[in-house]
């Protein structure tokens, strides 16, 4: 309410992350040789990284026999990750196959 004080940072500057997240992010940057051209990009990627830490913890709960955590993709949103590192289109499954016959059943007893 004090008119002499003005907000000069954007919402990125008010990023609320658990304690130690930025330290982990710095280790991640060093380990994977990441470079961000601007401060804004750094802050944005830090936010994505924080969310991915939470996501990795969720994956760990859902998938306890595997180990989930920080990977080289931890600064990417799910959409960015899918766009850059996957790339399989729909179709091509058993149901849509008209080009060749589905393989005949093999005996798998015992």
């Amino acid at each position: 309410d004090d008119l002499k004080i003005h907000q000069v940072t954007d919402h990125g500057g008010n990023l609320k992350l658990p304690l130690g997240t930025e330290q982990q992010f710095k280790s991640f940057i060093q380990k994977y040789g990441k470079e961000y051209s601007t401060r804004e990009e750094y802050v944005h990627r830090l936010g994505v990284f924080g969310k991915n830490l939470v996501r990795a913890a969720e994956h760990q709960v859902l998938d306890p026999t595997a180990v989930h955590g920080v990977t080289s993709f931890s600064d990417l949103t799910e959409e960015e990750f899918e766009g850059m590192f996957t790339g399989l289109k729909s179709g091509g499954g058993v149901a849509s196959n008209e080009v060749s016959e589905t393989a005949p059943y093999l005996d798998v007893k015992e």
Binding site: N52, R55, A56, H59, L62, D63, P64, T65, A66, V67, H68, G69, T71, S72, F73, S74, L76, E78, F81, E82, G83, M84, F85, T86, G87, L88, K89, S90, G91, G92, G93, V94, S96, N97, E98, V99, S100, E101, T102, A103, Y105, L106, D107, V108
Partner: protein
């Protein structure tokens, strides 16, 4: 069927490759299956060119006409087999190296190293997938990669993983019988899956995924290929 099986031990699998920031997983899955089939037929392991597929293959799916191979924008392994049957075959990696971006098609028919004779899709039953893996070599597989973004190691056996959102092409190279699963009470069988995100990802570039549950849709888009003399 053997209790466990691994085509890597038999020399049918090339080194773990790196697709980079390019949606070309479908090309790596395709070349992996052809590399394995060619090894079984000739006894020679050749590393084959993904870049040829990225640059030159624009084939579309028979039913879903808008599912076309499109370099780093994605594609389908079955489309790629069709393209290779029409084009005349696949060059070696060293003849047509990978750049991780789409460029002008530089395919030369006189450089073909392996020809595709035929291909087939495999039924959904995971025992059939195992039997075809053992008989025909490494299989091209599609799966939902949602858990792979945070995967570091171990046997992935998520409680929830959509079978419908299949978005990543990989290579099935074997299976094991004793991956421990706490929630599924004991040792469970698992698939050994070759990925194309480099050796530093996952289990030295490989993904271990629970077997027998159609996990992450891994049984819905499986294909085998046969090669011919070039």
């Amino acid at each position: 069927l053997p209790e466990s099986f691994d085509w890597r031990e038999k020399g049918a699998v090339t080194y773990v490759k790196m697709q980079g920031t390019c949606g070309s997983c479908w090309a790596f899955s395709t070349t992996g299956a052809i590399e394995g089939a060619n090894f079984i037929r000739t006894g020679k392991l050749l590393s084959l060119s993904e870049q040829q597929l990225v640059d030159c293959d624009n084939m579309c799916d028979v039913k879903e006409k808008d599912s076309c191979d499109s370099g780093c924008e994605g594609g389908l392994m079955t489309n790629a087999y069709n393209y290779l049957m029409r084009a005349g075959g696949l060059e070696e990696e060293k003849a047509y190296p990978y750049t991780s971006k789409k460029g002008e098609c530089k395919f030369k028919e006189d450089k073909v190293a392996v020809k595709v004779a035929n291909f087939t899709t495999i039924p959904l039953d995971e025992n059939q997938i195992a039997a075809n893996l053992v008989h025909n070599g490494p299989l091209a597989v599609g799966l939902n990669a949602v858990f792979m973004q945070t995967y570091i190691g171990g046997v992935s056996c998520p409680l929830i993983c959509s079978k419908r959102a299949v978005n990543h092409g990989v290579l099935l190279v074997g299976y094991g019988s004793k991956g421990f699963s706490i929630l599924r009470l004991g040792y469970r069988p698992y698939w050994i899956i070759k990925n194309s995100w480099g050796e530093k990802w996952g289990e030295n570039g490989y993904y271990h995924l629970c077997r027998g549950h159609g996990m992450c849709g891994m049984n819905t888009m499986v294909s085998a290929v046969a090669t011919a003399t070039s």
